[in-house]
Subunit: 352 residues, 2 copies
């Protein structure tokens, strides 16, 4: 728990862009996560066992696809949120590893389908399902993961998890649909961006925390607070992810980058840049964004830096993390609470 | 109910191929279904209301996609199976229209995703989602429908529906994955074909009947019998569908045909043709199937007819319907039982 406390004492101001000294690179991030997850390690292992058992198939082919998709799972942020919230709210119970496996399965399903939408070839240093086995296998594997997640959720005694997860995944899909609807929409503003992000990313982190609290026996007030904690953390996470899509190095992130620009998805720094540019500059930017090429990402970077758009986006991400951390005030101090606070901060300090 | 009885008295022997006098064309099929569904009409309407209410979205864009996908729903076979089984097993209860909406939503989700896999442009005389809005929208709309189905299933008091539907949809996805795995596999045999079909089609008709019986208060024995009824009916339905993919007219079916051959998916008549051909003929057939063109379908037809492969497939379909009808013996005679028997027979008599 010492490391977790250390995490939560990190300076609150994150870096402006990769290369700044306070950034956390891949190896350091892995070390910090390992330390943060140490108190829940046996329960994460149990969630992993449930995950694999649920997805077992008699078909070698299906099993191969499932095993491959398991390689995409990296930080295990969502299962960790379930378990750490449970620990902070009174203790981990038998339902928690099942819930943790369910949210991870839904997350994996969305990754597999996202890679089709993004036409991405690489994720976590491995070929995406669509790149290796084609779009059809990727569509069906995603469905397989979704339906197994619900089947597993239905194995819990109450239908609460099914209902809550059903609702959350509806909003995830709606958020993603909104995103493709707004593709190429250069008038997308900040509130509309947040609405998309709250759906496509923050719903699942919110529900992870809510279910962690609920199945630990917390009352409605704490469940709501943890829902907000997870939601703000999820928004910050997505802003960071969008920044990495612009600024990250493919070698470090291990995934195809620049897909937001290629697909003409406007993200926070670009929205801010367009808003703060003079009319003439804005026109030039629009035509750059409308005809995306591998150069676009490189051409935009200096403009994002000099205009302050990059700083603005990081500041907003840190603002969401501050709000998230404030929600933890509902609990008395505990090592688990500190770990959650530290984990939230780490989200906007990773540079991959 | 008179019409329903008429249905069940139709001669048991179906046609060898389209054009035979005992075939039921689009208008006649619509009339017969309307008659068969008359006793459950208010409950089907309630299922429809639940379906639309559950899928309502604040986003115009999402609503437009949902409304469009509703046009693909035609025979409403699965919700009708839920409601007719319920009626035959003791009566329709409040859970039944909800279950009917759930199975129809899952069916619609699989249609939307199937059209991506098949690269189909037209379904029920309307553009497919992928053709009109692109693959990305189609992937996400399918996910939206799947997750709403589970959300709706979780609104029922017991988690039974969630568990059963979760398990069934797992097998549906596994069946579809097996199918793409076997694409181009010219050694696919009849048992492997049935295994795929039992998963991708018959699971959902089986579960429709099982849930109809369960929520009407039937015991395990009747639930199992209705599961088998729905499963055999589903296999027969798929054999008929595969025959229509080879023999149907696009104008009448209102969907893109010939996709099985284009995608090198072997179906029952082709499997039988390959098995019964001489080594020399089989080689010629294999090379024809391996390089599919718009001509392939036309070139195969006379061979399927003269070899008896077409008759064989229809005979097998009727065999499954006979098995399905035999399961109904578990119930005392009733108009609802007759309607189910007639509906089963209609499945192998439709020529679209």
């Amino acid at each position: 728990m010492v490391e977790a406390n250390t995490l939560s004492r990190d300076p609150g101001v994150g870096p402006a862009h990769p290369g700044a000294s306070s950034w956390v690179g891949p190896d350091e991030l892995a070390r910090r996560l390992r330390d943060a997850y140490a108190p829940i390690a046996p329960h994460l292992a149990e969630a992993e066992r449930v995950f694999r058992e649920e997805l077992g198939s008699r078909s070698d082919y299906v099993q191969r696809l499932v095993d491959h998709s398991a390689r995409f799972r990296g930080k295990q942020l969502r299962p960790a949120l379930v378990l750490l919230t449970a620990q902070a709210c009174g203790g981990i119970r038998p339902a928690h590893p099942v819930v943790a496996a369910v949210v991870e399965m839904i997350h994996t399903a969305t990754l597999v389908h996202d890679d089709i939408l993004d036409e991405a070839d690489v994720r976590r240093h491995a070929a995406t399902i669509n790149a290796e086995w084609g779009n059809e296998a990727a569509v069906l594997l995603g469905d397989y993961l979704f339906t197994h997640a619900f089947h597993l959720a239905a194995s819990l005694e109450s239908a609460y998890a099914c209902r809550v997860i059903g609702h959350a995944t509806n909003l995830v899909c709606e958020g993603e649909l909104q995103q493709i609807h707004h593709r190429g929409d250069l008038d997308l503003d900040e509130p509309a961006y947040y609405e998309i992000v709250r759906g496509k990313t923050a719903e699942l982190t919110a529900v992870s925390c809510r279910l962690g609290a609920h199945y630990a026996g917390s009352g409605p007030e704490a469940c709501e607070a943890f829902d907000r904690f997870g939601r703000d953390l999820g928004v910050a996470f997505q802003i960071a992810d969008d920044l990495l899509d612009l600024y990250g190095e493919e070698a470090a992130t291990g995934k195809t980058l620049g897909t937001d620009l290629e697909k003409q998805k406007l993200t926070l720094p670009v929205i801010h840049l367009l808003r703060s540019a003079s009319p003439g500059e804005a026109d030039r930017l629009r035509s750059l964004i409308c005809s995306p090429s591998p150069e676009t990402r490189r051409a935009l970077r200096p403009l994002l830096e000099s205009s302050g758009a990059l700083d603005y986006a990081w500041r907003r991400a840190r603002g969401f993390i501050d709000s998230a951390r404030a929600e933890l005030g509902i609990l008395p101090p505990s090592p688990a609470r500190d770990t959650l606070a530290g984990l939230a901060q780490l989200v906007v300090r990773r540079c991959y």
